[in-house]
C-alpha cells in the first residue's frame, strides 16, 4: 500500500511540471504587451516600464521565467503577483471559494441524483422505467451547459418567480449562500449526472450477474441483503472513483456556468485574465486546477485501494 502511494506521487510530479509549462508557454506567447495594456490610454514613464519589466522578468527567456515561477510556487508557495501588485493567491482566494462551492454543490447533486437514478434503472432493468431513465441520460448528455444554463435560468429563475411570487432560485451572483448555488450547481452537474447514472446502472447490473451474488443468494440471505450488502459494496468501486475524479472536471468546466449566472469564480477570473494578459493570474488559475485534478486523482487511487482489497495487496 505504501509503495503504491509513493509510486502514484512520483508519477504526479512530471504531470504537474508538464501541464504548468504548457500553460506558461502558451501565455508567454499571448499577443500584445501586458505592461502597455496595464496603462490603458495613459502615457507611460519608460523608467517605470523598465522596472516593471525587470520585476516580472519579462525580458528573460521563457525557460528562465518558468524557472522563477515554478520555484516560487514550490519553495515559497508563491504564485506571483498581479501587475497591480496584489498577490495572486490573495486575489484568487475568494474566487476559488466560489468555484469550489459551485463544484461541491454540483458534485453532491450528481452523487444523489446519479446514484439513485442508476440504482432504480438497474433494479428495473429492461422495463419501462429503465428505458425512460436511459433516454433521459441521453438527453442530459446532449444538452450543452450553454443551453441548459439559460433555459433553466429563464424557467426556474424568472418564470417561476413571476408565477409564484417567491424567488426559489436566484439567477445571478453568489450573495444568497447555498441558495445561489442550487441552479448553477444543477446546470454544471447535468452531463455528469447522466454519466454517473449510466455508470451506476451498468456497474450494479454487472455486479448482480456475478457468481458471488449467486453464492449470497444460495446462503439464504434476503434479496435486500444480497443487493444492499453484497451487490452495492462491489458496485460502489467504480462509482466512487468516478465521483472523485469528477471534482476536478467540474471545477475546470465551471467557466460557462459562472458566466451565465454571474458567479465570481476562477473560471470567470481566468476569462478576464486572458483578456488583460495577466500572465501570473492565468497561469496561477490553471496551475491550481491542474493541482486539483492531480490531487483528486491521487485521492481516487487511494479510495480505490481502500475499497478493493485486490488492489491493496497487490
Amino acid at each position: 500500500m505504501g509503495r503504491y502511494i509513493i509510486r502514484r506521487l512520483i508519477q504526479a510530479g512530471p504531470v504537474l511540471l508538464g501541464a504548468t509549462f504548457f500553460i506558461f508557454a502558451t501565455v508567454f506567447a499571448l499577443p500584445g504587451d501586458p505592461v502597455a495594456a496595464l496603462a490603458g490610454d495613459k502615457r507611460q514613464d519608460p523608467n517605470i516600464v523598465a522596472i516593471i519589466r525587470e520585476q516580472y522578468h519579462l525580458d528573460d527567456p521563457l525557460l528562465v521565467q518558468y524557472w522563477y515561477y515554478i520555484s516560487g510556487i514550490v519553495f515559497h508557495g508563491d504564485f506571483g503577483k498581479t501587475f497591480a501588485g496584489v498577490p495572486v493567491t490573495q486575489l484568487l482566494a475568494g474566487k476559488l471559494q466560489v468555484t469550489l462551492n459551485l463544484a461541491l454543490v454540483a458534485l453532491t447533486m450528481e452523487a444523489i441524483i446519479g446514484v439513485l437514478l442508476g440504482l432504480w434503472a438497474a433494479l428495473r432493468r429492461g422495463r419501462a422505467t429503465d428505458t425512460a431513465i436511459l433516454a433521459s441520460t441521453l438527453l442530459l448528455i446532449s444538452i450543452p451547459t450553454l443551453v441548459s444554463g439559460f433555459v433553466l435560468q429563464l424557467w426556474l429563475g424568472v418564470w417561476l418567480k413571476r408565477v409564484t411570487g417567491t424567488e426559489f432560485f436566484p439567477i445571478s451572483g453568489a450573495t444568497q449562500g447555498l441558495k445561489s448555488y442550487l441552479l448553477p450547481g444543477f446546470v454544471l452537474a447535468g452531463v455528469s449526472i447522466a454519466y454517473l447514472t449510466r455508470l451506476t446502472r451498468t456497474s450494479l447490473v454487472e455486479t448482480l450477474r456475478s457468481d458471488y451474488i449467486r453464492t449470497a443468494t444460495a446462503k439464504g440471505l434476503s434479496r435486500r441483503r444480497v443487493i444492499g450488502r453484497h451487490g452495492l459494496r462491489n458496485a460502489l468501486i467504480p462509482m466512487v472513483t468516478y465521483l472523485g475524479a469528477d471534482l476536478g472536471s467540474l471545477m475546470g468546466g465551471a467557466v460557462i456556468t459562472e458566466t451565465i449566472f454571474n458567479l465570481p469564480g476562477i473560471g470567470f477570473q481566468l476569462y478576464t485574465g486572458v483578456y488583460l494578459r495577466e500572465q501570473p493570474v492565468v497561469v496561477g488559475i490553471v496551475t491550481i486546477l491542474v493541482l486539483v485534478y492531480i490531487v483528486a486523482n491521487l485521492v481516487v487511487d487511494l479510495m480505490y485501494a481502500v475499497l478493493d482489497p485486490r488492489i491493496r495487496y497487490e
Binding site: Y212, T215, A216, A218, G220, L221, S222, D308, P309, R310
Partner: protein, 345 residues
C-alpha cells in the same frame, strides 16, 4: 408461486419411507431471444440421508440447472418451471412462499460452486463471509460468529485458520478457497449438500483431497449429497448411485458399481470408454462422435440418436421412456438389452 405460510416448512426428524429430497418430473425452460430453451425435460431423482448421488453429464445436459432449481437460485425470468415437483422431506419447495424458501436455502439445503474465486465475494474477508451465516441465520454476535468461522476453517483443514480468518479470497490458493466455500456451505449443518463441479477448477492432486474432505464431512453429519460432475473418474469412490443426463433428460440411473461394470445406455458406455485407462495403453482413446445437442433445436425421438452407434429407425421418431431394468436401474434406450450385452448394433 403460491403463498404458503411459514409453518409448512418441513420438520426435521424421521423420514419413514419418504426420501430426503425427491425431484419429480422437473421441467425448466429459459426464454431467450432465439426462442425457448428447454434445459430440463422431466428429470426425476431422489436422495436419502447419508447417500451420495452423482449427476453426470456434459455441459448443457441440464445437470446444473436442475441443481439451481432445487436451490431456488434460477433467475426468474428468464427461467421458468412449468412442471414438476421438488419435494424436501415431503414438502414441495416450488409451492413454498419466497420467505419460506429463503429459510431452506443455505440452512437446510446448501450448495458449493465450481469456481471458488468468483463464487466468493472479493471485497469481504473469508471470515466475514463464513460468519455471515451465523450472524444472519443464528443472530450471533460478530465475535462469536467469527470464532465459529475459525472453528469451521479448522474443520475443513485450512492451516493457521486463526491467522487467516481476516484474509481476502484472492490471498488463498484454489484448493484453500474451495475449502472456504465448503466451510461456508456446511456452517449450519445442512441436510442436503449440492456440490456443482466442486473440483473442476482444481489441480488433480487437490481434487482428490477435496473429494476426500467432502466424503468425510458427509460421514460425520449423515447429510445427503448431490455431486454434479462431467467427470466419471471423480465419482467412482464417493458416489452411491449415478444419474446420467443428456439433453435435459436422465438417460440412465444405476448404483455406481453396476454402471462401471455394464452400462445400459450407449451414451454412458461412450463416456466410460473415453476414460483413459492404464491397461489399454497404446490403443486409440474412444471419443463419442458428433456434438452435444443444440437445446434450441433438439433432435427428434431420442436426443442421442445422431451420435448413437446402436441407432435404429425408431430412435429417430420415438422418444424412449426410462425403461426399468430392475428395481434400482433404469435406461432411456430402446435397445438397452443390446447395450448391456455389449452387442454393437
Amino acid at each position: 408461486m403460491r403463498k404458503t405460510s411459514l409453518d409448512t416448512l418441513p420438520a426435521e426428524g424421521g423420514l419413514g419411507d419418504e426420501p430426503l429430497l425427491a425431484v419429480d418430473n422437473l421441467h425448466v425452460e429459459f426464454a431467450t431471444r432465439a426462442g425457448v430453451v428447454r434445459a430440463v425435460n422431466g428429470v426425476s431423482y431422489s436422495l436419502r440421508p447419508g447417500e451420495t448421488l452423482a449427476v453426470l453429464g456434459e455441459s448443457g445436459s441440464g445437470k446444473s440447472v436442475t441443481a439451481q432449481a432445487i436451490m431456488g437460485i434460477l433467475d426468474v425470468p428468464p427461467a421458468r418451471i412449468p412442471k414438476g415437483e421438488i419435494r424436501f422431506r415431503g414438502t414441495d419447495l416450488l409451492k413454498l412462499s419466497d420467505e419460506a424458501r429463503t429459510q431452506v436455502r443455505g440452512q437446510r439445503i446448501a450448495m458449493i460452486f465450481q469456481d471458488a474465486l468468483s463464487a466468493l465475494n472479493p471485497v469481504f474477508t473469508v471470515g466475514w463471509q463464513i460468519s455471515e451465516m451465523f450472524r444472519i441465520h443464528r443472530g450471533m454476535s460478530r465475535r462469536d460468529a467469527t470464532a465459529k468461522a475459525v472453528e469451521l476453517m479448522d474443520r475443513v483443514r485450512i492451516p493457521a485458520a486463526k491467522q487467516r480468518v481476516n484474509d481476502y479470497p484472492h490471498q488463498f490458493s484454489g484448493g484453500m478457497r474451495q475449502r472456504i466455500m465448503i466451510a461456508m456451505s456446511i456452517a449450519l449443518d445442512p441436510e442436503v449438500l449440492i456440490a456443482d463441479e466442486p473440483t473442476t477448477a482444481l489441480d488433480v492432486t487437490v481434487q482428490a483431497q477435496i473429494m476426500e474432505l467432502l466424503a468425510e464431512l458427509q460421514r460425520e453429519s449423515n447429510m445427503g449429497m448431490i455431486l454434479i460432475t462431467h467427470d466419471l473418474g471423480v465419482v467412482a469412490d464417493v458416489a452411491d448411485k449415478i444419474s446420467v443426463m443428456y439433453g435435459g433428460r436422465i438417460v440412465e440411473n444405476a448404483p455406481v458399481h453396476d454402471i462401471y461394470q455394464s452400462p445400459a445406455h450407449p451414451y454412458t458406455k461412450g463416456l466410460l470408454e473415453s476414460i483413459p485407462r492404464v491397461d489399454l495403453k497404446g490403443q486409440d482413446l474412444y471419443a463419442i462422435k458428433g456434438l452435444p445437442p443444440n437445446l434450441l433445436d433438439m433432435p427428434t425421438g431420442c436426443a442421442f440418436h445422431p451420435r448413437c452407434p446402436y441407432r435404429q429407425d425408431n430412435c429417430v421418431t420415438d422418444s424412449p421412456p426410462l425403461y426399468e431394468i430392475n428395481a434400482r436401474r433404469g435406461s432411456a434406450c430402446h435397445y438397452w438389452r443390446e447395450v448391456l450385452d455389449g452387442d454393437q448394433g
